[in-house]
Point group: D2
Chain length 121, copies 4
């Protein structure tokens, strides 16, 4: 909850996905193991759009492909949020902690533009 009582994006999605699964009696399928596989499959469907494109082409998608990619990104987020919920992980907190950790691991003044440092990222 934010200060004015409004729910965060990720908490809102978590609650809607939880209700969605409950209404359909789908919790039985939603073990972390299975959800991690489903997430992986969605990420592969996303990546498939890029596999034969050059890096430059991957940044200039047709309108049709862009729309399909946006839907795959959504699928990935939904499974990621659902998996986090089933594991009792607060995804926002985890992301903020990781950002902090990355900032310490990769000091901007030391790694700037370095592909060597980057390749160890």
């Amino acid at each position: 909850m934010s200060d004015n009582g409004e729910q965060s994006d990720l908490a809102m999605l978590r609650d809607r996905l939880r209700a969605f699964a409950e209404e359909r009696d789908w919790e039985q399928f939603h073990s972390p193991k299975n959800l991690s596989m489903a997430l992986m499959v969605e990420v592969a469907e996303l990546m498939e759009h890029f596999q034969w494109l050059s890096e430059a082409e991957s940044a200039e998608l047709s309108e049709e492909t862009h729309q399909a990619v946006a839907e795959e990104l959504a699928d990935c987020l939904l499974y990621l949020v659902r998996l986090s919920d089933r594991l009792g992980v607060d995804l926002k907190d985890a992301a903020l902690r990781k950002l902090e950790k990355n900032a310490q691991k990769y000091p901007a003044d030391r790694v700037r533009g370095s592909s060597k440092k980057y390749s160890e990222y």
Copy 2:
């Protein structure tokens, strides 16, 4: 932005990741193609924790594994947010649209508890 001017979770993470990459001159590596690969690799590191566990075991992780898994979930979210930003996709909007689409595709009263319907999900 929410009504009181507070930024949403996903927009906040997007902006922090954008600044992080700019400060390090890392945009050159962040083509959608490359970021989709990085996202995939993180999801595999997440899934690796579950590969030899039963479904039940995957829901009862040790404290140590739970912490490691939370960090992998964070990595997945960070790359997913970064990739969406590079593609100009509003991840929250895309997720809400997909939730709506799923609600129409899987009416609760028709698919409840059905693994057959579920397997086509």
Copy 3:
């Protein structure tokens, strides 16, 4: 080549895939980077068949699913052989070396039936 001049399975597949790509002028798309993505996408299509099944169910597929899975396994092998060829890796030799390494790493009398040892595999 085996002693009687017959080519091994993997070398035969490698040569047929090489000719297949040459005849279609597809080498231009077959960078190791791209082929690793294509392999990943095929493995995800394979894994998708198992994502909502229990472990027991995954060993008792319907005839229809079994046939679809066999075709996905073939796709995985073909991309794996093609990728190895583009990298100049002799896949059979690499596999034999790895078998030897695994035999030393996991002595049968020490790790038998141990899921703990196994989980570190």
Copy 4:
């Protein structure tokens, strides 16, 4: 078996992996579901080497990276062979059937050098 009684590469690897698992009592972990996850994780470890490289760089690996990549390719093949065995799929036959199917689907004189046709591959 080839005519002179010599076993094919893939059948030899299948038999060695089968014995390896039996000696360690590891069949209990080797459900198709689990093995598909393990295969996926190995492919991701392979792909990780390429994620920040350009396509050209991915074809010119350092000796150290080349050796690491060869070992990942071996891991992929071993899990692919093991998974096929657990499913009762003859991997060589499946690959030959798929090659035939691909030859009919992509006639060389029609698709030569066409990235459009290729992108639908």
